[in-house]
Symmetry: C2
Subunit: 344 residues, 2 copies
DNA sequence: TTGTAAGCGTTATCAC
DNA sequence: GTGATAACGCTTACAA
């Protein structure tokens, strides 16, 4: 017979299981968390009782008692941006078979919203926290430093992370893409960028350095907008860039969506790619390899970053061997038709 | 002086705030949840104490005591599929300014995984539960029926939801798209489908009915694969379809990614679109309107569905006027160049 | 290996 | 309007 406390929720509790199995509640608790702590015999009885009652542990009570939620909080600036969707896929993949949950927060590229979410998430005492980028506000950084759980900054590379970091250098990525365009023979190489979040800014910085090194930089070549990126926007920005620089002969795009939009617009205007216009994207979504013509891009380790970030958290939680605090997963320039100016 | 219980976590608690403000803990609790329950004077003292201590309520304790977590759980089959990313954007949008959190679960299109996640999420006693589709397993349905919170099934339309439902009919969408192709003058209309989850199956059923009505159906026209959808896959499936039906003159694609892949492959093979091959996609991503040629598609209310689903949950929680349990947001056929066979 | 007691931080209940 | 007290369901600390 079940104790009918006034506030009883009706669902079976660990006490119910204990009573049915003829043991103490704490024994059920142990059997559930680490079966090796309980004798085989009791374990069986407990398992039977759990099954019979359809018992599910109350995660809130568990978190309250242990001051530790079985949750890894993940903060991203966007969910519709495929980059972060891929990243999160990697996060889930690394967590398969693990009792930990993922709690996703969407900062909408707002440092203030990020600050709010970090505070809120830390209030849940998560087992780990993964945040995007390295451009947190001072208040956020302070909270992260005293988070009391493993913290991983992702999608960038830097030397001094709050705790751990995994990603790659957007600056180097932008530089490599631009150098490639220079080496391919283009001379009026534009930069097209949307949203212009910190990572885009660093790609732009890399672009600029590469052009300056080649003596080809001109501010008029840069066309950016705070508007969120999209395929249609790519076409619009190309038009703007061509208006500013009629002799434009190539564009390095902030991301692949813009690059695709540029390609469509070029086709519409009957501009020959890559002869009259070279196009280079960023991220290397799988469509880049099958577009017509195939589009050059910079392959970025999105999925791998999510996977690795979770591994870093898990390893820390398990107290295993300390691995590198900073991991550079690199990027890879994928040269394809759209920048092969001299090809047949 | 703070009570230093052995297990004290170090963070300020509601009791600390109460002591500093010179009131009882329950008064602080009231002031935080509904200031109108507390006198102006005490309210001010409490606010000051909260600010001074940097107090953040412990959500776990709150959920335990009230048997209610301020969380809406959302289950989707995929996060990389832009359809669900857009849907989730709508969810977040509808929740702005609300203290409720979102907890996302990814079922990876697996009914078993869905079952596990539903059980786990309900163990948190969420304020609401949103699940994708209407094809839950029997065990899942049973749990949903006794969830003890508002439940919304989304992305489909049906008459008998577990609780509430918002979406549109994929069957009708597939039928409308196919009828359009028939009316546009195409005669050997293929179906290309990837993943083939329940919603894709219903689109296929609509396609089939439309072709049967026109006396044009032939099983050889249907090419599907359980492989996840992608742009490259669209090209491959087109090749397969043309191998089975050399006279193929149009394709209705499961989604826009495949349609784009089909377009690229057609361009590669120098097949003229729309004259020699009509292409129709599904979802109407924004790239469809700027592709070259522009691609016909079926616009689906992804964002709106997420937004509405949350509104339905919120309205139920607030005990407001009961709105319709089933909401059909419909779809819209967007006819563009890729199916204008007779255009100049 | 198992159990007892106390506590995690908050809110429901009932009294004033 | 405010407060004392007892839950909420689980785990830590300590004992046997």
């Amino acid at each position: 017979m079940k104790k009918t406390g006034r506030r009883n929720s009706g669902r079976p509790t660990i006490t119910d299981v204990a009573r049915l199995a003829g043991v103490a509640a704490i024994t059920v608790s142990r059997a559930l968390r680490d079966p090796s702590l309980v004798s085989v015999e009791l374990r069986r009885q407990i398992e039977a009782a759990v099954a019979e009652l359809g018992y599910e542990p109350n995660v809130n009570a568990r978190a309250l008692a242990s001051s530790r939620a079985d949750v890894i909080a993940v903060l991203v600036p966007s969910l519709t941006n495929i980059v972060f969707a891929d990243f999160i896929s990697g996060v889930y993949k690394a967590l398969r078979g693990n009792p930990l949950q993922i709690q996703i927060g969407n900062t909408h590229y707002s440092p203030r919203e990020e600050e709010r979410l970090v505070a809120m998430f830390l209030g849940q005492r998560p087992s780990g926290l993964i945040v995007s980028g390295i451009d947190q506000s001072k208040a956020t950084l302070k909270r992260l430093q005293t988070a009391g759980c493993p913290v991983v900054q992702v999608m960038e590379y830097a030397d001094e992370p709050v705790d751990m970091l995994v990603g790659f250098s957007h600056f180097e990525g932008g530089k490599a893409a631009t150098r490639h365009l220079v080496e391919a023979g283009y001379r009026r190489i534009g930069f097209i960028g949307a949203r212009m979040d910190p990572r885009s800014q660093r790609r732009l910085a890399g672009y600029r350095l590469a052009l300056e090194e080649a003596g080809l930089f001109d501010p008029a070549l840069v066309v950016t907008t705070p508007t969120p990126s999209s395929v249609p926007l790519g076409g619009e920005l190309l038009c703007q860039a061509m208006a500013k620089t009629p002799a434009l002969d190539a564009v390095f795009c902030n991301n692949d969506d813009l690059a695709l939009g540029v390609l469509f617009e070029a086709q519409r205007q009957a501009i020959r790619v890559p002869q009259a216009l070279g196009i280079c994207g960023f991220n290397d979504l799988d469509l880049m390899g099958v577009a017509h013509p195939r589009l050059t891009s910079v392959r970025t380790p999105r999925f791998e970053t999510g996977h690795r970030a979770v591994q870093m958290v898990l390893r820390r939680l398990q107290g295993g061997a300390e691995e590198a605090r900073c991991v550079d997963l690199g990027f890879q320039l994928q040269v394809r038709d759209s920048t092969m100016r001299d090809a047949p």
